[in-house]
């Protein structure tokens, strides 16, 4: 399958309208785009921060990663797509079911 820009894919993953933890989405993108390692974990997470800042995703919950399954001691955030995010996603040719 043709790979699309990472932010497209993040919006696509959130376009089910369900809230997902950033850690889950980051790990899925890492797998799909073959971007392993801590460097790319932070790299992809930064895209999500920009999407939140741009008003396309919004935080619904947060917790601290105490066990270190993702990144020990950091804030894990649960995000959901916003209405504006849906508009931007549909402009990126991502379909809403």
């Amino acid at each position: 399958m043709k790979q699309r820009p990472i932010k497209f894919r993040i919006l696509e993953l959130y376009s089910d309208g369900v809230a997902h933890w950033n850690s889950e989405v980051v790990q899925q993108i890492q797998k799909e785009y073959d971007m392993s390692g801590d460097y790319y974990r932070d790299y992809i997470n930064f895209d999500m921060i920009e999407l939140v800042s741009g008003g396309m995703l919004t935080g619904t919950d947060e917790k601290i990663d105490k066990e270190g399954n993702y990144k020990k001691g950091t804030l894990l955030q649960k995000y959901m797509i916003t209405d504006f995010g849906k508009i931007r996603a549909s402009e990126c040719c991502i379909r809403f079911l």
């Binding site: 932010k7 790299y43 920009e50 800042s53 741009g54 008003g55 919004t58 601290i64 209405d83």
Partner: protein, 371 residues
Amino acid sequence: MMTSTNPFYKVEGLKMDDTNTDLKALKKELHTKRIRKGYMWAIFCAIGWALWYIAGTLLWTLDPFFGMYNDLAASDSSTVALILTAVLISGFTAITAIVALLVWNRTIGSHKEIKRSLSEFHPCSKWFLLASIFGGPIAIVGSFIAMGVIGPGFTAVAGLTYPIFGALLAWKWYGEKVSARALGGIMVIIVGGLTIFGGAAFGELAQAEGIPWLGIIGGLMGAIGFGTEGAIVGKGIDVTKPEVGLTIRYFFESSFWFILVIPLLALIGYPMFMYAFQIFDPLVIVILAATGFVAVANYSALYKSYPLVGVAKGQGVANVYGLLTVIFSFIFFGDMPQWTIIVGAVLCIGGSYIMFSEQSEDIESLRGGLK
């Protein structure tokens, strides 16, 4: 090559001890870091932009550009000479910028994202094509018309007003939140810039015969061009990485100069290619490369600030470059600044402080006007 720590994307990587489990405090710190990082990039852009002016000024003193300007000023007019020389310089700096950006994107691992984003024309790269037209030909040619018809002081004043257009468009178009306080800060910085260059601008306008409409239109093209570029880029960066967007923008800008403008000018009869083939002098190449590299550093910093603090604040803080240009010109060229620079400096720093000190924890998103 990649290490486990990633200095460019560290906003979420907060260190904390096990006893600190206060979620709210952590969230607040995360937010503050995001904003601080955004401002840091904008200031970095201001410094880079001022340095760019130094390198850019040097280019005009070197052949083939120096000779090209003089030849065209003798055969046509100084305004035509300014614009055509600026076209050639812009074309070559766009090429060196692309080289620098490809190296940079490879280093940070974004090179594959360039191809992915470029091939998505309708949803993504078209924004950077538009941005390149506004920030490239429209703003650059406009600025040089203003410089030729009225003068550099007026051009600087006109150029410094561009965040007004950027902020207005970002707010109207996609509902970017611009608080009254941030707007106040932007205005204070602009007034600071006007104080620095205002005297020269009034002197130039007083010397002009009648109203120099062409020059005023040029100045407006500069301000609206750069401001509009910012707002359009904000839209493009929604769906790709800032440095990737910048690479695409320069790709379109250089294509525009070399595929359209320069051949067209050559067809009309200007010896553009004759001068273009004379750049292979080591000194010219080095200064061109430096100009391109500095442009990349400051432009990527500016683009990186947009998603973090917004187009309005990013451009507002980056506008401090006006002050820094005067300071760097003093350091590098010994141009003695006038006393007005002190008033201007206080205003620029004061305006930045007004923005930095704004409490914004409740603002998770920069957009609020759209549903």
